[in-house]
Subunit: 938 residues, 2 copies
């Protein structure tokens, strides 16, 4: 997120229209030559360079001329033009321009004109806006014209504003491309066919506000400076991916201490402590450059005009900079990194090199780097490595689980001579070449990646696809990928007007969720840190079902289905866990990976003294996960109406986990208790009758009965099968109902207060003012046992029930508990799951401004790294929670039996919220304006 | 250890002497030419080739001739010779030859003659021994003559015996070199100045037995075949080193699954579970070869004549083989690897390449491979890497402890063109060259290694030394190293005649101990697995003081002193441990590394279910280590008489650890108990009043009092200092004496039995026949708790006391306990410390044959991998125990107040044992012959 500091306008077609004057000048020349030329002919000249326009006119009369004569005629035409534009005056400013320029200046932003036309100073003078300009640049200032970025870069330097902070307003495709090449965002003026590559497209500037221009930046996460100290954070937020793999944004040339990773779904290997972890795959991005014998390294002096940005519209990660190697030598470098959403085995990085100053001797080395690690642990053995003059390949195998991964690369259709690089464990291709001053070239490192999870011959598959990629221009790959992303955003974007920070954070969150969602694989799911970091080792938690899935269920049901099927495939692991603990049915793992067996670490080193081990109990007793999964299944059915899925996949899970619950609840004097658990608030372990657990257990046992009744009516055969297989006798069903009726739920009807677990209200109160300005979690400050003894929550527990079951509690109960629990929750450094849930709940309390505070805490968890741990990976639950907070909280969406309702409670400064979702296969559109809070359903 | 199968004799000067006939032939020619020539002139021709001999004779008369004339004269001389040797007959066989040949044939070994002389068939015929020969080869059979190995290799092929199984008997230096180049061992006939490179040197064959020839193999550990399945074992036993570093015998071209390691003393990094571990240093051996585009790889077909051997005399690791690349192409490759004992920062590997068949296009790549690991864990960050056309360097830093290690390499004074290899993390040098058939070349990869423990600028130091090495021929490096090794063996060799297996095992053990002993560093010591493997992570145990140190104390006191000073430097860690446990004084760590703090892992994964953790108690309660160190200090003083060391270093340790003991012993009803400990027998933990612990504690407290008395007389100032610092009040001393007088020691005077700890005799008896043929330890078979409940010992506990305190127990006590404990000890798969201790104890019982059984169990622990875990590293305690078993056990050495006594109890088949040691700086020689068991002191 960067603050725009300058708007750079193209002149012609944007601020004014000199087309008429050009026509008149050509017409005058044609008349002089005796060639008939009219307005209709002139239409053919739009966007056509001068010389070709002249040739067109001459051709009308069948003439052709020498270059010298042409020069003379073009000079003559230009003179006519220069005379004509003396008529230009303030009235030629296009509608809206004057107001807009005034607003920009008023807001303190700089304004510049960057026009190819050398006549632009004169025109601007006559338009009477020169005094509003901070800089004026025309084509004569630079050698290379648009679509090269030179003119805009020159303008930015004149303004003294880093290019990342500039917005370009342009009406030509080449201008949009030039802006992007300069690392700027673009507003396109004109039809989408022409300027659709811009972040914002407007027909003209009439009625356009500065806010409209600034919204161009909400599709882009920008890093304006390279800072080695922030590497890990930037790597996480610049993760790109495609549902098959995620690649962190470490840099192609690598830097000491970086935490490079490509994580591929399902490629688990055994690991100490955490049982199993996703094995960090080879670094496919590796690109090293030597210019005049010096290796490119941004920690050395001479780097300027640096900008790196993640384009959320198409998932490309881009970087550009100029390297001033010495006083006489400079080179411009541009990278575009891509993980193809349209074909998940393709990844690529393009490097463009321009000799800005002096002639260059260059060496490029592109490797598949198998020397990778998971935090100092190795998970691969090299099985095969090879490189020839066209292709390099690497085949690896995980050390313990024996899964194979193959990568095969080429360098695109380059004219440079390429030779193999056979460095051990990291095969690649190399090229030596020269560039004269002003020359440029580019290499496309195109890589195909296959694992033994998709094919028995991953190396052959990778070699074959790499060969296919060799025939595919990089632009084609970009276009395929962009089309797939356009389709995603078409369904899943959420528009927030009036709050660009919230807008960009939400888009980044949805982007990060999409790239982690398995596109073609229903045996994996989204882990707590997606595929963007080593945190939680790729394990799947309730985070997915309760925080992440709703976004997919509502906007991308097929992806949600894949992830719910993961729980179906891992049901055997859940059965094993239940059996191991002495229960019937299925008990899902708190942390789940390949098989569904419990993989929560049992012991971990203590955070303050790593020589001491801390027993982690969540894998043993945080049991609400099984009901959370049932909840997500039910929600999917409710939203999609997919009866087949409900019957075949969901119902068996709901019923088999219910069998576990029936065994787990303990009968005590006419009531049922659930003792020795951990609820969502993990600061307290070994507690009895946790409110969240017992409530959702009750819901689960009731839902299970409804499920069986539904099956008996709509799918009697399945009902019979499950009744037999799970022994769903009348006694068992009666037992379930008995539990549901009599489970302990510590709700004081008088006060409305729900006690989080037995004895919570007796625990010590925290001296909150003492901890007002801390930067540590309450668990660190009080100690593990200390937090356990106090009334302090890691995250919502009772409050979470109000969000998940909004109809289950009256307003008094909600308010009483909100007032009790919200102030004693560790919002800042407790669980990252908390803030978005509290944002949502605050809306239920009609406190959107307080909700907004919580919302922004979640929004900044990754982008601003407010919790300090974003380097470990994206906070997936927080990202999913952002969507829920907007849609269920601020917009107040609720489904009814038929249709849905909206109950908007927007923060005061939000002007508009708009989103779509699918209800039973039909897309619904919600559009809420602050001034006109009316819902518009499709 | 390999079995010799063939003896290959040189002819002239070995079996017969044709010198007289050559003289007569030259004389005849000289006479014909009219040149005066006598016996005195003839002396000048010894070992001189024919043409130069002729020139010498002609020069006597001032003549010179053309090549053609010379050819004619040499033919004439040879004809004279052939006529003369018709006189040769059986009487020309040299003394002893006939008997020796008969003995060899009798023993079933093959006999061959390999003589350069083409006349040898005729000579042999007349000597009348042709029917005793299995093969006969002469110079005409091969192109390249000695010192090239071709003739011997040809002979071995004729015999059908692998070259590793051949012994060569030679009288010329070139012949010895040729034998070694062929991978054979050599017996040199003649003066040491000429044939000293041979493993055995004899004046002639008169009175020589086959055993004398076979003893040539006892300086060499041989691998006759490459077997990838045995890699880890071979890597350990082929470890070479120099007291600074140890390098496992993984192969230069590396193979999948190998466990390459170079471990450098003191380069510890933090590690999970084991707290700290020696970080595996870069692979300096790395050498890759491509011939005609194919990478050399022994898992591919075409490898023949393979042999690899460790030369114990100079610590070089050698390999030779022929690679038949295809039907038309073959190459001979020879490697010699060296870690310079004379200059500990030098390491080197020489590769010789000979084009045996066809012309070759070769590529050589020599790297410093920084891509190394400790069992899947990474410990280094690359700080700097560089390569130019002469040198490549690598600077690394440990990830947690920030220790630096630098390596710098060159490729010797090669004439081939060398280019840099800048593979990331593994810089090196490369060369492309060609060899015509018959041509050969060699490269010397010379590397200097420095760490930040010796210098603040390790990279500068490594670069400088590498540059110096570039000016040093490899032969010079070899000679320096050999001289240092000669000096070591001069003092420390132990000769066992009559048992070549025992001889080679003992030498290998002493070799492995020497390379692990810090030569110039007194802040490190020998760990349980030396520097030869990852086992026990480089931690130091009591193994060092009780099993390893005596060898050094007796034969290399300076090295022993370095290691005892390590305990002095780590005394602060011992103080911290005592304080942490609530005691005064110093309590040494059970496992000790850099600081002396306890680094025994607290929890380790269970051997049968790695998801379960097992609590390791030795770091908490195996407390006898502190007394073991005092014992070693006292022994050092007794042997060396080094009063300064005793006063300044040893006494403070003995007294400060005694303070700990005084606090640790618990007063109970007039007696003192030591409860909750682990004794040497670690199958039983949390035991009370362990015999070993309590006895050595008593000894320690008595020794402490004697120490203070000695100081009061000989160093009153030090006595005062320590008395004040440690509060050695009269009360404390009286308390110590009280403990010594009243410590519980469960010795039943009636039966003589000493109960290992309270209640041991009540534990369950093991049904031993049930476990007769197992290949697992009793702890695995019975389970950890099961073994704890049974009367089964991991190793000697009570019995160990008899070895360490031979005067403390009467014969009856010794015998009764031996009879009780020896049969219930897990000798085969229990502790590797056990067998050598039992061998020693058996000698005390006058059972040398039983002792020999135990002895060979220890002798085979590494060389034959009988315990199956040699891949983890050398069993240092077992190696040191071998020396003690021979010297203290079989030879029965005991020191007296003045001088020493010998009480030989040799196994029946041992004919001679001979060794040296230093007593108070004066070398003593012990020589025991079976038939003449008399000691010969210096």
């Amino acid at each position: 997120m960067i603050t725009p500091e300058a708007i750079i306008f193209d002149l012609d077609g944007v601020l004014t229209d000199t087309a008429e004057y050009h026509f008149l000048a050509w017409k005058q020349l044609a008349d002089e030559l005796g060639i008939p030329f009219g307005r209709k002919d002139n239409e053919q000249l739009r966007g056509i360079p001068r010389r070709r326009s002249l040739d067109y006119i001459l051709a009308l009369d069948g003439r052709s001329i020498s270059n010298a004569e042409a020069e003379e005629l073009m000079t003559r035409k230009n003179n006519h033009y220069r005379t004509l534009i003396k008529q230009v005056s303030t009235k030629d400013l296009l509608p809206g321009v004057a107001t807009l320029l005034a607003e920009i200046k008023q807001a303190g932003l700089k304004v510049a004109i960057a026009s190819a036309s050398k006549n632009s100073p004169q025109v601007l003078n006559q338009l009477g806006i020169c005094d509003q300009l901070d800089a004026l640049a025309h084509g004569g200032s630079v050698v290379r014209q648009k679509p090269h970025p030179d003119l805009f870069l020159h303008t930015a330097r004149e303004l003294g504003v880093p290019s990342a902070h500039c917005i370009v307003v342009e009406d030509a495709a080449a201008g949009i491309d030039a802006a992007h090449a300069a690392g700027m965002t673009a507003v396109g003026i004109g039809p989408a066919e022409r300027v659709g590559a811009a972040e914002v497209v407007l027909p003209n500037l009439d009625g356009v506000s500065l806010a409209d221009l600034l919204s161009a930046t909400t599709w882009r996460v920008v890093e304006p400076h390279f800072d080695p100290a922030k590497q890990h954070h930037r790597e996480t937020i610049f993760t790109i991916g495609n549902g098959f793999l995620g690649t962190r944004g470490s840099l192609e040339e690598r830097y000491p201490g970086d935490r490079q990773a490509t994580l591929v779904h399902g490629l688990y290997d055994k690991a100490p402590v955490v049982f199993t972890t996703l094995a960090n795959a080879p670094d496919w991005t590796s690109l090293e450059i030597w210019i005049n014998g010096r290796r490119f390294d941004m920690t050395q002096p001479g780097i300027r005009d640096y900008v790196r940005w993640l384009d959320l519209r198409d998932g490309t990660l881009n970087r550009r900079l100029v390297w001033e190697i010495d006083a006489e030598t400079a080179v411009e470098l541009r990278w575009t990194r891509l993980t193809n959403l349209a074909h998940q085995h393709d990844v690529a990085v393009q490097l463009s090199i321009t000799a800005v100053k002096n002639n260059l001797t260059c060496r490029l080395r592109a490797r598949l780097d198998g020397h990778v690690e998971n935090h100092g642990n190795l998970h691969w053995h090299t099985m095969q490595e090879e490189s020839d003059h066209a292709q390099a390949s690497l085949l690896l195998q995980t050390r313990h689980t024996k899964k194979q991964l193959a990568l095969s690369m080429n360098l695109g259709m380059t004219s440079a001579k390429v030779r193999p690089c056979d460095c051990p464990g990291t095969p690649g291709l190399e090229s030596d070449f020269t560039l004269d001053e002003g020359q440029w070239t580019s290499f496309q490192k195109m890589i195909a990646i296959y694992s033994s999870r998709e094919t028995n011959e991953p190396l052959a598959a990778a070699r074959k696809r790499s060969y296919e990629l060799l025939g595919l221009p990089f632009e084609k790959l970009l276009a395929q990928n962009r089309a797939a992303w356009d389709a995603f955003w078409q369904d899943s974007d959420v528009i927030i007007e009036g709050d660009d920070e919230a807008q960009i954070a939400l888009r980044h969150a949805l982007f990060q969720l999409r790239i982690a969602a398995p596109t073609h694989d229903d045996t994996v799911s989204i882990s707590a840190k997606t595929l963007s970091g080593f945190g939680y080792s790729g394990h799947v938690f309730w985070d997915n079902e309760i925080f992440v899935l709703p976004f997919f269920t509502y906007t991308q049901p097929q992806l949600a289905k894949n992830m719910l099927l993961y729980r179906h495939h891992t049901l055997p692991g859940a059965r094993r866990k239940a059996a191991k603990n002495g229960y019937g049915g299925a008990q899902y793992a708190w942390e789940s990976a390949e098989t569904g067996d419990e993989v929560t670490p049992t012991w971990v080193p203590h955070f303050s003294d790593p020589t001491q081990l801390v027993r982690i109990w969540t894998g043993d007793i945080q049991i609400h996960i099984s009901a959370d999964i049932a909840y997500a299944l039910k929600q999917f059915w409710q939203v999609t109406g997919d009866d087949d899925f409900w019957r075949d996949v969901a119902a068996p899970i709901v019923l088999e986990t219910a069998v576990f619950w029936g065994d787990r609840a303990e009968y005590e004097d006419g009531r049922f208790a659930v003792r020795d658990v951990i609820g969502p608030d993990e600061y307290h372990d070994h507690v009895d009758n946790n409110a969240f657990t017992n409530f959702i257990l009750r819901w689960h046992l009731q839902t299970a009965q409804e499920t069986l009744r539904w099956l008996q009516i709509h799918a009697p055969q399945q009902a019979d099968t499950l009744t037999q297989a799970l022994d769903l006798s009348d006694e068992r069903l009666a037992h379930w109902q008995n539990i549901a009726d009599n489970i302990i739920f510590l709700h004081d009807k008088e006060s409305g207060l729900i006690e989080q677990f037995e004895g919570f209200f007796q625990r010590k109160k925290v001296d909150w003012p003492k901890y007002a300005n801390t930067e540590k979690s309450m668990q660190v400050l009080l100690g593990i046992e200390g937090a356990n003894k106090h009334q302090v929550l890691k995250q919502a527990d009772v409050i979470a029930l109000f969000c998940l079951f909004p109809n289950a509690f009256d307003a008094k109960t909600q308010q009483a508990n909100w007032d009790y629990y919200e102030p004693i929750t560790d919002h800042v450094y407790g669980s990252s799951l908390g803030p978005s849930m509290h944002a949502w709940a605050a809306c239920l309390m009609n406190q959107p401004e307080l909700g907004y505070e919580h919302f922004m805490r979640a929004a900044r968890a990754d982008l601003l790294n407010v919790r300090g741990n974003a380097g470990d990976g994206i906070h997936a639950a927080s990202a999913g929670g952002l969507w829920q907070a907007v849609v269920f909280g601020f917009a107040g969406l609720r489904l009814a039996e038929e249709g849905h309702t909206i109950n908007p409670r927007l923060p005061a400064h939000w002007q508009r919220v708009s989103f779509k979702f699918y209800r039973q296969g039909k897309q619904q559109i919600v559009n809420i304006s602050a001034d006109q809070p009316i819902l518009a359903a499709s």
